[in-house]
Amino acid sequence: MKKKKLVLSFPEDRVTKPITYKLVKEFDLEFNILRAEITPDAEGRMLIELKGDDEKIDGAVRYLESSGIRVQEAARDILIDRESCVDCGECTSVCITRALSLDKKTKKLQFDKDKCILCELCLDCCPVRAIRVNM
């Protein structure tokens, strides 16, 4: 079993295809749609987390690519500059998945990468600009 976060980009003519259904049905994958959006140029984009056997994930990726869907690993990351962070916790209030929280004991900011869905709501709320996206 492994977990993989992928960004799927659907060209305009594929937006309506029942892709996720196939991933469950044919590849026996557990998946979690973290974000989904249709961009202004009608391209669909989805951030999903896949859970399942290595081979099945690889098979699913091949299937997706052969269906004309662009697959990228979600390589972007939220980075916190510990030098500038003052541990106020303002960012924790906008973090809907609770990836950002204050440690109960130390009261310092902690970041759980696995919970982050890259919504980026935290970026412009940090008063010391300690949070940025690593591309």
């Binding site: 003052v86 106020c88 924790t92 209030s93 204050l102 009261k107 709501l121 709320c125 008063p127 010391v128």
Partner: protein, 388 residues
Amino acid sequence: MAKTIEEINQKIRDGSVVVLNAEEIIDFVREKGVRKAAREVDVVTTATFGPMCSSGAFINFGHSDPPIKMARAWLNDVPAYAGIAAVDVYIGATELSESEGIKYGGAHVISDIISGKPVKLRAISQGTDCYPRKEIETYITRDTINQAYLYNPRNAYQNYAVATNSSNRTIYTYMGKLLPRFTNATYSSAGQLSPLLNDPYYRTIGIGTRIFLGGAEGYVSWTGTQHNPEKQRLSNGTPTGLAGTLAVAGDLKHMSPRYIRPAVFERYGVSMFVGIGIPIPVLDEEMMEFLKISDDQIQVEIFDYSVQRRSKPSYGKVDYRQLRSGKINIKGKTVQAGSMSSYAMALEIADLLKDRISSGSFELTNMVKALPLEGEYRSLDILSQEEL
């Protein structure tokens, strides 16, 4: 039994003083009781580290040759108020750069001066017989100028507010980014660690009190602006909203960039994180009754910041223990709460002050004059001369 500040200072000198921070004292009192705790502990250190807009610094540059009477001045393109004597200015924390806007402001200038970085000074003048120079452009640092001292008209607010947003759009405020339809809420107080919440009736914190300010020694210099001691209080003495405030001053040259930090609030402006620590002498049992206060016993009112009026709708009160859990309840909805002020930094300052007192490098002072316990909190009305 009662202790005087002189007696406590004697203990500081002979190394026998017992100091706890305002968080540690809570469990200590719970264990030993108020009476015993008041006897055993001499000083409790309180602290806060939050964005405090009403801050700024006076600077005297020294005279150039030929000299200039600065009429308008800029530090790294941030306007400084020059309408005082020839080479004195006041740089306000929230003033914005004329070239960089919200990205750089007075707070950044102050932080750069503290850090010893070179700062560009530009000034213009009409020229007089005694001050013939009409313009100047040069660089200054912490070490080239005469005085640089922080003078903050309103700091260390005795409690504040919780901000939330009922509207359908994200709003950007001095209480941070507030997402639509009660998605989040922000607050700003050190709660149980906060100076004026541990001395709610200003028994020991007054004009002349020596404090920790931005890493250096500072003083309470006056009553803070908007000081509002008659705010509604709970039976433990703590107010449930914006009450007492302090004006503070201290030497910028001895401060540390760790405890004075610029803050930028998106689509709002620049502010400055100010680190303040205040030691409270345990004079008697009554003082210990105040000092044992904990987050669950301090309440604060929730306001709707989407209403762009002076009076905002209130959604009731919440205590700081609930706020620090990260989740509060507003109108039946669970709302994520986050702090604007840093509890971790406040704790660090309270501990630093504790160390300074224990090691004998920081002695307590008697206040010179108490902060008022009465006073009206006025609003600004738009009036003609006849209506006054």
